[in-house]
Subunit: 418 residues, 2 copies
């Protein structure tokens, strides 16, 4: 079978499975999730055995220790993956919720009911625990999913698929609910992106080049997550102790993630009081500072920022710093260089807080809190399958609800149009 034929067959099977899935209530889906968690534990020897094949290949290919660490499925990792599946059981099922209902003058009762999207294509890199998370969220929201993981995790993903599908079958759910693309051939991705009659949504997760490739080649709608160039603006009215805590947390707690701060903007009236101490604290934590001209005037040991630093997602212990004369200058800078991801203001001024929340066009805008809170779990959505930076359908962290849509349901008693 050619790759194109294979992927088409997977998509047709997924669509058929999705028709069954959308009519299945929470108890059966939760039962399947519980069995999937069980199978992760019962099957751990097999999983670790298959995972070792991936690890050996990764070592032979000379991949970094950090990469190999993320790829490794230990007993502990499997325990936490199983716990992740059980956590999804505890989340409310969005399917069938009626999000509003109203009566029309002619007596029609019109409502909106949440339904699954149908078939989701999920394209991601390396970590096999993402396979488990994505499977759980798609199942709970009533969607069939086609998973295309990184080639480095192929053996691990295929054994997870087998164990999960056994759980699905045991719960009476169609095994085609969950399918792993069994080839690393790039043709498979092209084929998946072309099947808009069968696949309802593509979610790419990984580096910017993967996401751009998917967005540019897909006929199926794509929910993108590009880079996070996140800003914290410290206003002249800020509590400077709070500002220091927030900036330190936003930069240092986990610098390699998309919701970490990349640029600090400071109002000129507090720059002299605030910057020397926070820059010293950050530098002690290993952060390299790249400052604007005025920053360098206050802290001469700081490197001068290049123009290319302002739009840069460092994903590392590097921070660009700019002193601004007004809040408008800060929001202009964010508009110009930001990525609509996450922006925070630290202020005690009521009107500045209000204006910043309204003016800044990012998926999450915070007052007096760390940018690190842009996360489905932290914001109360339960779990997340990604963070969308495109505005359509979902903007920001995507939880179970974002894997559904609504249809209109209409109760009449003989109404016709005149």
């Amino acid at each position: 079978m050619s790759v194109g034929t294979l992927i088409k067959k997977m998509a047709v099977d997924a669509k058929a499975a999705s028709r069954t899935l959308r009519q299945i209530g929470s108890p059966r889906k939760d039962h399947a999730l519980a069995l999937m968690a069980e199978n992760l534990i019962k099957g751990q020897d097999e999983i670790i055995h298959e995972n070792r094949k991936d690890l050996m290949k990764a070592e032979e290919s000379g991949l970094s220790a950090a990469f190999i660490d993320r790829l490794t499925l230990s007993e502990n990792v499997l325990q936490s993956m199983a716990q992740g599946l059980r956590d999804v059981i505890a989340l409310p099922d969005p399917v069938g919720q009626v999000t509003g209902m109203w009566r029309r003058p002619n007596g029609l009762l019109v409502g909106r009911m949440r339904i699954p999207l149908g078939v989701i294509g999920f394209i991601y890199e390396s970590r096999p625990n993402v396979t488990s998370d994505a499977a759980a969220l798609c199942l709970k929201s009533g969607n069939a999913v086609i998973l295309r993981g990184g080639s480095e995790a192929m053996h691990s993903n295929l054994i997870l698929e087998r164990l999960f599908r056994e759980a699905l079958a045991e719960s009476g759910l169609p095994p085609e609910t969950l399918q792993v693309v069994p080839t690393t051939d790039r043709e498979a991705v092209y084929a998946l992106l072309s099947l808009d009659d069968y696949v309802d949504l593509i979610i790419p997760r990984g580096g910017e080049s993967l996401i751009r490739f998917v967005a540019e080649n897909s006929k199926v709608p794509v929910l993108k997550h590009y880079k996070g160039v996140c800003h914290v603006y410290v206003d002249e009215s800020a509590d400077l102790h709070m500002a220091s805590e927030i900036c330190f947390n936003a930069k240092v707690q986990r610098p390699g993630v998309c919701n970490a701060m990349e640029t600090l903007l400071v109002h000129e009236h507090v720059a002299g009081d605030f910057l020397p101490a926070i820059l010293e604290r950050l530098q002690e934590a290993g952060v390299e500072i790249r400052g604007c001209e005025r920053t360098v005037a206050i802290a001469p040991e700081v490197t001068r920022a290049e123009a290319s630093d302002w739009p840069e997602e460092f994903l590392d212990l590097i921070l660009s710093v700019k002193i601004v004369s007004t809040m408008d200058e800060a929001t202009d800078h964010i508009e110009k260089y930001g990525s609509n991801h996450t922006e925070a203001i630290v202020t005690n001024d009521y009107n500045r807080a209000r204006l910043f929340l309204e003016q800044v066009d990012s998926s999450v805008v915070l007052v007096n809190a760390s940018t690190r809170f842009n996360d489905g779990n932290q914001l109360g959505l339960g779990a997340e399958i990604g963070i969308s930076t495109s505005k359509l359908h979902a903007f920001g962290p995507m939880g179970l609800e974002e894997l559904t849509t609504t249809k209109f349901i209409v109760y009449g008693n003989g109404q016709i149009r005149t």
Copy 2:
């Protein structure tokens, strides 16, 4: 200036305008809408003069009388376009609405605030009154819009643009809120579809080939409205008088639109009682019937349906009719041949009604009412910019809310992640 450079400049200007627009309250937007309505009346001589150029060209090109009728801007049409603008003033402004807010255990107050999408590209055919409707809905929802109308309406669209932009300027709004693409060059469409850094959404409205072209060539997200192959299923428990009224209305009231019935499905237990009378009534109204084998056995004068009739959107006084043995056979038929647009059941059986509403995967599913109610106005959304048959972002009629998205707003008092 090349076409590509021109469109890029329009998109950059639109994005700049959208930044201003998203911070403007309802009174100013409503004021602009009122002035736009006024300018349609004050400028009617100019508009009719320009429209006549389009009409002359259409006549020379030998376009149909129906086409020329839809293209014509008379005093009456302008009055009703002005009324359409005033109707949008009366609709609630979705921008700034907070659709939910909750407190996290750490004290963070998290909410979702409605915001405009940004820049919308609207690609449509012929009728210049769509220019006015689309301009009004985009403005009210805080979006800048780039309009690419049919080449046959170019003079009409350009004079509308000038008069509307005068109204925008008089209200202190950026004139780049509304831009008409001033060329019929196909390059302009390609260019618009490639500008995903500036344009947030493309809405195509017109024939299936236009929509497929846009969907297949766009890097910008597209909300598609494909065909409507709408079904009415008359259950064995139906009130047959009601069924007759609904079927007649769904087929005959306006056969050329997407929410008209194309296929009638009848339960075998009532086919003998129901079909002869309704088919006669439909035929008297000029409807051509194409029936399944069992239908032809009951009504021998009916043409036998071909396999190609079932997935067909006739958009005309033609109806395919099929007798089914069970409701499952009806929903299987809908699943196979339907277009996820609009489906109705006529029944007095509570459980059948409930099952049909849940099982049928269409943007609007009705019990005991005509399919013709799939319309933003009729369902209570106010006005509509189109009907989406893709599930992402909006499924069904799109009103003002569907031209917005939500961002997360977070109120903290110093929270950091641990």
